[in-house]
């Protein structure tokens, strides 16, 4: 159903489309980040696409790949019924340089979606009117959904009370017991510091 849509996109952006495929009933188009804004305009305004609904905009972190972050947008057309997933890869291996154009001028839903993407991954959206954190508090340091952010790090705004005779130790130390997940994430945790182990 969306095969025609992929052909339309490929015809319009023949030199920027890096890949397109169909998997489990979803059609995906991978494009170079420089054409991200032009792709958004095309998908919204072209009558053959008519993707009036930006369903979701998020990112995925692939630390072994370069570029590292993949910005993923899901779009739907209410009139024509087809859907598309558009992807663009940005960012260097150490997480810097993740910049892409903002779609907030095209869809109102992109405003908050890009704020959340910035909050969680640190992707900078050029042209966003108000790019600040949305789910976390402004004093938070770091971008938690990156793979090199340890999941058990806490950043309390109010420091824990330091009183004697209070045992506030977790049942296992950080190196004891079975690892939480079936897969350890140690290979990406290069910036663990003493504060992470000291609860």
């Amino acid at each position: 159903m969306a095969q025609k849509l992929i052909e339309l996109v490929r015809n319009e952006f023949s030199d920027s489309v890096l890949d397109s495929y169909s998997q489990h009933g979803d059609e995906t188009v991978v494009i170079e980040p420089e054409s991200w804004l032009a792709l958004g305009k095309f998908l919204r305004d072209d009558p053959g696409c008519d993707m009036a609904l930006l369903v979701d905009l998020t990112a995925v972190d692939y630390p072994q790949k370069t570029p590292r972050f993949e910005v993923v947008a899901h779009l739907a057309s209410l009139r024509l019924g087809h859907r598309l997933r558009a992807k663009a890869a940005v960012g260097a291996t150490d997480g810097t340089g993740a910049q892409i154009d903002s779609w907030s001028g095209l869809w109102g839903s992109a405003n908050w979606a890009e704020r959340e993407c910035f909050d969680m991954f640190g992707v900078d959206f050029r042209g966003h009117p108000d790019l600040r954190r949305i789910l976390l508090y402004p004093e938070f340091v770091g971008h938690p959904l990156r793979k090199d952010y340890p999941a058990d790090r806490i950043q309390p705004l109010v420091a824990f009370r330091d009183a004697e005779n209070i045992e506030k130790l977790p049942p296992f130390g950080p190196s004891e017991g079975m690892s939480f997940g079936r897969k350890t994430h140690d290979q990406w945790l290069t910036n663990r510091d003493a504060a992470d182990d000291d609860l």
């Binding site: 998997q23 979803d26 609904l53 369903v55 993923v72 839903s109």
Partner: protein, 404 residues
């Protein structure tokens, strides 16, 4: 008496004319949900508003990357915690889309019935809380009592009233209890009569209508641009329902209508939810007569489904199957999928990225109320401060889902 010797036209005292900043903080007696709305007021009119969410952000997406695919079910339960079975079913369907498998017919009708009961509970909460915040306390208590009866069904079926964690990849945790269809029919009949009573109490009340009609109007184009889906989008006039547009489970076989509003104001959002509950009752009645009385609820695949407990204890194959599924998890194939269903507030989507090991690489929960709450700023700008209460209540922002 002589007139006072004051010249009222040229005051000698200049009054402060800066706009007033009011913080309707995360805990407010007239809003249900943890959200902070900072409004800049000029008298009673709102000049600017800033909606701040994130007070219930618990880091679900990060937590999901540290367990197995089955361990995500308790997290998605706690997203939209007033209709948790819709989240469970939505996530299970997304995983099954990645596996390219379909659950048995009995499970499909079971999921539909439980999902529509959860939708009724969600809409009961929203509608009654909205009425209570406008001062009508009685319908709130009536609908809470009706919701308790729906929760009695959930407790009978799943063991818990609210966060069931009842869905499984490939089926459900347990088959339906013997009296499920009769129990749900009886409860739904009573819930519909309670809705009728509350309607008769509210919808002819002049004050209630004046507070809702033409307040918080959102045009259809703006609603689509803001990513609104669900009852709020349908109230603005667009008949988009995932159950009709992209049918899943057996929604293509049952008959129901999609209520659509006219003006896109708070009143339409209120009435659309009332009508949707009636349509959900229709769906439940049709599923109750079509659901097979016996047969398997779960698929029979040893790589996905846990075996029965007697097999785990008595046979070596059952022990091995149980061990591998619990310790290593279900190995979803490498790839990505976006599975979407109609949640209580709109299109609830799950974007799953799998790398082939048993641990998810990325679980993105597309929360419908996140995008709906994103439109709150434009909804209340230009309205009066008292209009924030029905506007916010009509959006049904569920903090757990909005902030995941």
């Amino acid at each position: 008496m002589e007139a006072p010797d004051i010249d009222l036209d040229t005051p000698s005292v200049t009054l402060d004319a800066d706009p007033m900043l009011l913080k309707m903080g995360p805990a407010h007696p007239a809003t249900h949900g943890t959200v902070r709305i900072i409004v800049e007021l000029s008298g009673e009119n709102i000049e600017r508003a800033d909606v701040q969410i994130g007070y219930l952000h618990r880091g679900f997406e990060k937590m999901c990357e540290r367990g197995t695919w089955s361990q995500v079910f308790p997290y998605v339960d706690r997203c939209n915690y007033v209709s948790p079975l819709l989240n469970n079913v939505g996530y299970a369907l997304a995983c099954e889309k990645l596996l390219d498998l379909q659950v048995p017919l009995r499970c499909q009708y079971y999921r539909m019935m439980l999902g529509e009961l959860a939708r009724i509970a969600d809409h009961l909460t929203c509608v009654s809380a909205m009425a209570m915040e406008l001062g009508a306390f009685t319908p709130y208590l009536w609908m809470m009592k009706a919701r308790e009866m729906v929760w009695d069904i959930f407790e009978e079926e799943t063991g818990a009233r609210l966060t069931h964690s009842f869905g499984r990849i490939g089926g459900m945790a347990l088959p339906p209890t013997p009296g499920f269809t009769e129990h749900s029919q009886a409860v739904v009949t009573h819930v519909i009569s309670v809705i009728g009573e509350a309607e008769r109490l509210l919808l002819t009340n002049r004050i209630f209508l004046d507070r809702l009609e033409n307040v918080g109007v959102m045009s259809a184009d703006d609603a689509v641009s803001l990513g609104w889906t669900g009852p709020t989008l349908r109230a603005s006039g667009i008949p988009y329902d995932v159950r009709k547009a992209h049918p899943y489970l057996r929604y293509g076989d049952v008959e129901f209508e999609v209520p659509v509003g006219v003006r896109g104001d708070c009143f339409d959002r209120f009435v659309v939810r009332l009508e949707e509950m009636r349509q959900s009752a229709r769906i439940i009645a049709q599923c109750a007569e079509r659901m097979p009385k016996d047969g398997p609820v779960n698929i029979d695949d040893p790589r996905i489904m846990l075996p029965a407990k007697d097999q785990v204890y008595d046979t070596i194959e059952g022990t091995i199957q149980h061990f591998k599924l619990v310790m290593e998890g279900i190995k979803l194939p490498a790839g990505e999928v976006y599975g979407y269903t109609e949640g209580g507030n709109g299109e609830l989507g799950f974007y799953l990225v799998s790398d082939g090991s048993g641990t998810p690489h990325r679980v993105r929960i597309r929360p419908p109320s996140f995008y709906v709450t994103g439109g709150l700023e434009s909804l209340i700008t230009g309205q009066m401060i008292a209009d924030v209460v029905p506007c916010f209540g009509s959006l049904n922002m569920i903090g757990g889902e909005c902030d995941h």
